[in-house]
């Protein structure tokens, strides 16, 4: 079967924050660029980010990037690479100011500067006191950012392929990346996008869990495509459970609520975070707060008839503050929790929110894999940024507001690297292998011909329930071991999914089946990597790795201060060192220490 082909200098997959920021770099450099996106760009999940983007502008409280770097390394439980973290924190002011210049409607201080609010884990002077570092547009920062970035791309005449779903990565015999195959949803046609450079900005896969703040579209497409193409996935055991998802609905309530003074309370009304994080209290790191909440619920101090949630209380804040700084939260609470937070506290539970791991990259946005003894050898023609990538700046736990920063800094950086690589002639349009589209066509043909299979809905549900039960906020050795067996069984079932609808035009059944192929890779990587890591670190906390004098917080730096690499082929695990050295010679490394807030 012949497949149509389009040729570009660069193809970007995904039009959320990272993809749009990268696209700007390429469009403004005059490169012929295609941006493929499953949904119209402003529908990407960046739109749902609420509380802000981190930058040490110091508009309200004294701040500098060294403090931000320290907080990020500590937040990552020292699993983040310090070169990439230094790069991100140093670049923060530049990319946030650029965004303001693009027209982003940030809130303002009285003297007209960008408004900043406190956020979890961000501090002044190396952990001493909370700092206002989160640059915010009310509680709609992601929406304001995504629209501003899209608008700037309209100005730059970026070429979008809207409602196209990328299917598979194309690599040649050298392992170089030559583009992707993609499905046009409106016609059902498959096309090859042949390019010198391919940037993945496909977001996370939070939909592997039953209870998730994530949009339906967050199916880890880039991560799944990379895994199928033989690229290892890094640190996939680390998933962030956001402390405040609306109980029952999963919809996100920003940490900015606590930044504005919100307090978590248990059934007796106690501000329980004072016991778990005496210094930063409700503004401790997300993993810490989520575990504290889960402990309160597990020990019988939860609220409601089933004692299965805690309360987020802002009734003591002035109604004007809520209306001005948290208007979206009020809407969400009324819509999804049935409470007006001006009068009543909001029922919340920890909810799967963010994928810390992903496609391994360096700070330039190049995808890197172990090769010939070098753990971080770039894959020619392949770049990634944002939640699908692992630079790694978030390590074992991401700080709130660092995700929007990540996608700006590394979206831009990946774009700059591609522009430079093309300018100096590092990248050329290599000939496509004859079988470039075969894997994608086979996946579609399998769905066409499948009989007696299970529905995508059933198998997807089995996956989400398995992940929720076996790899949640707290992890247990026995459950993880069973989880590996269980998820591999689900993966077998995923190979036999059947869709009843075989039509061509806008076949969302087919799209959902193809998405499940990606989700299941992420689910396997998560469970297998988690089972293998026999320590507690950041968001990965196991019952058999408790807090002891020898291993503070259960962390074992002697054996486990290393990045996991999961290979799809044979579910093989490998490891690579954490970069403890910052990028610049004159910046001191952040020394290993026990994490307390």
């Amino acid at each position: 079967m012949s497949v149509a082909k389009r040729t570009f200098d660069a193809v970007i997959v995904g039009a959320g924050g990272a993809g749009l920021r990268a696209a700007l770099q390429l469009s403004e450099a005059g490169l012929k660029t295609a941006v493929l996106t499953k949904v119209f760009p402003t529908r990407s999940h960046t739109v749902a980010a609420q509380g802000g983007v981190a930058a040490s502008l110091g508009n309200s409280t004294e701040d500098n990037w060294h403090w931000h770097m320290y907080d990020t390394v500590k937040g990552s439980d020292w699993l983040g690479d310090q070169d990439a973290i230094e790069f991100m924190c140093r670049k923060a002011n530049e990319v946030v100011v650029e965004l303001e210049h693009y027209g982003m409607p940030f809130d303002r201080t009285d003297n007209g500067k960008i408004y900043q609010r406190p956020f979890g884990g961000h501090s002044q002077n190396y952990g001493q006191a909370p700092v206002s570092r989160s640059c915010a547009a009310a509680d709609r920062t992601g929406h304001a950012m995504l629209h501003a970035l899209y608008q700037r791309n309209v100005r730059a005449n970026t070429q979008f392929f809207v409602e196209w779903m990328a299917l598979d990565l194309i690599r040649d015999a050298d392992g170089d990346v030559l583009g992707v195959t993609a499905l046009e949803m409106e016609t059902g046609e498959v096309c090859i996008f042949h390019a010198k450079a391919t940037i993945f900005a496909t977001g996370g896969a939070g939909r592997i869990y039953y209870s998730s703040t994530n949009a339906f579209i967050n199916t880890g497409d880039g991560v799944g495509m990379a895994a199928r193409a033989g690229i290892p996935l890094e640190d996939m055991e680390f998933w962030q459970f956001h402390p405040t998802g609306v109980a029952g609905a999963g919809v996100l309530i920003t940490e900015g609520v606590r930044g504005e003074g919100g307090i978590l309370r248990n059934a007796s009304g106690e501000r329980f975070m004072e016991r778990y994080a005496p210094n930063l209290k409700d503004l401790a790191s997300r993993d810490v707060v989520s575990r504290a909440m889960t402990t309160e619920i597990n020990e019988g101090r939860g609220c409601g008839p089933d004692k299965d949630y805690v309360l987020l209380d802002i009734t003591h804040l002035a109604p004007e503050t809520i209306m001005k700084r948290l208007p979206g939260i009020r809407e969400i609470s009324i819509q999804f929790a049935g409470v007006d937070p001006i009068k009543e506290p909001i029922p919340v539970v920890p909810t799967c929110h963010y994928q810390m791991g992903g496609i391994p990259t360096n700070y330039k946005g190049q995808v890197v894999v172990p090769k010939d003894g070098e753990p971080n050898s770039p894959v020619a023609g392949f770049y990634a940024a944002g939640e699908c990538a692992c630079a790694s700046v978030h390590g074992a736990n991401r700080l709130g507001t660092n995700s929007l920063l990540d996608l700006l800094v590394f979206g831009k950086s990946a774009g700059e690297t591609v522009v430079e690589d093309i300018a100096v002639g590092n990248l050329s349009l290599k000939p496509l292998p004859a079988d470039a589209a075969d894997a994608s066509l086979a996946r579609i043909a399998r769905l066409e011909g499948q009989t007696n299979g299970e529905s995508v809905h059933e198998v997807g549900l089995a996956m989400r329930r398995t992940m929720q039960k076996h790899a949640g906020v707290f992890r247990f050795d026995g459950l993880l071991k069973e989880g590996v067996t269980a998820i591999l069984e689900v993966a077998e079932r995923a190979q036999r999914t059947e869709i009843k609808d075989k039509s061509k035009v806008w076949n969302t059944a087919r799209v959902e089946a193809l998405e499940l192929d990606n989700l299941i890779e992420v689910a396997k990587a998560t469970m297998i990597s988690a089972e293998a890591r026999k320590e507690s670190r950041g968001a990965h906390v196991r019952d058999d790795a408790p807090d002891t004098p020898e291993f503070p917080n259960g962390r074992n730096d002697n054996e486990w201060l290393k990045h996991t690499l999961w290979y799809r082929d044979g579910n093989r695990l490998d490891y690579k060192p954490v970069t403890l050295k910052p990028l610049s010679h004159d910046v001191d490394p952040i020394a290993l220490a026990k994490r307390t807030y």
Binding site: A48, G112, I217, G328, H457
Partner: protein, 236 residues
Amino acid sequence: MTKRTVQFKIYRYDPDRDEKPYMQDISVELEASDKKLLDALVRLKAKDDSLSFRRSCREGVCGSDAMNINGKNGLACLTDIDKVAQPIVLRPLPGLPVIRDLIVDMTQFFKQYHSIKPYLINNDPPPERERLQSPDDREELNGLYECILCACCSTSCPSFWWNPDKFVGPAGLLAAYRFLADTRDQATNERLDNLEDPYRLFRCHSIMNCVDVCPKSLNPTRAIGKIKDMMVARAV
């Protein structure tokens, strides 16, 4: 809320199979946790995977799942299933070509949005730091920048139905005023010139369907009025 069955009448059309569209009577049993119309649609799709609709964030910020619900445009994810009269009649957004089932071709809608130059225009060299804007000036953008481009407003506007190629429509005009109202933008005259035309702006007859349906409680009619005021002020 307990388990209950909900009755639907849904507009169905698959160009591969159907000569013409038809209304399908269908019901679905809901779980206690299902609260929104979108929850019910997801359950319906598990039963019949050929039912096609757009959806993403399920919390009213991405603008994907706009549709016509019992004759009124809205977002499925923000519609309480138990507050809607049954059978719930679902149709695609009116006035745009239907591709399949509840999925419309939004090309014309976005074309109008793009036509107003929806980006900040400021030709001064960018300063090292942020451009300053007072809190009061920033406040002028509230009620404007929150638009999610769901198209509920434009596709409920009779003027947009008659002239989708010539009338910018409420969503596009709201965006136009969002930039006119921004103290950082320098293209006021250019923007007003762009709209000074019998159709682009002045086809708005203040019917206010847009205000009635906006799921974000925005007020395009007021924004359009302000643009008209700016036109008048410029003329005198």
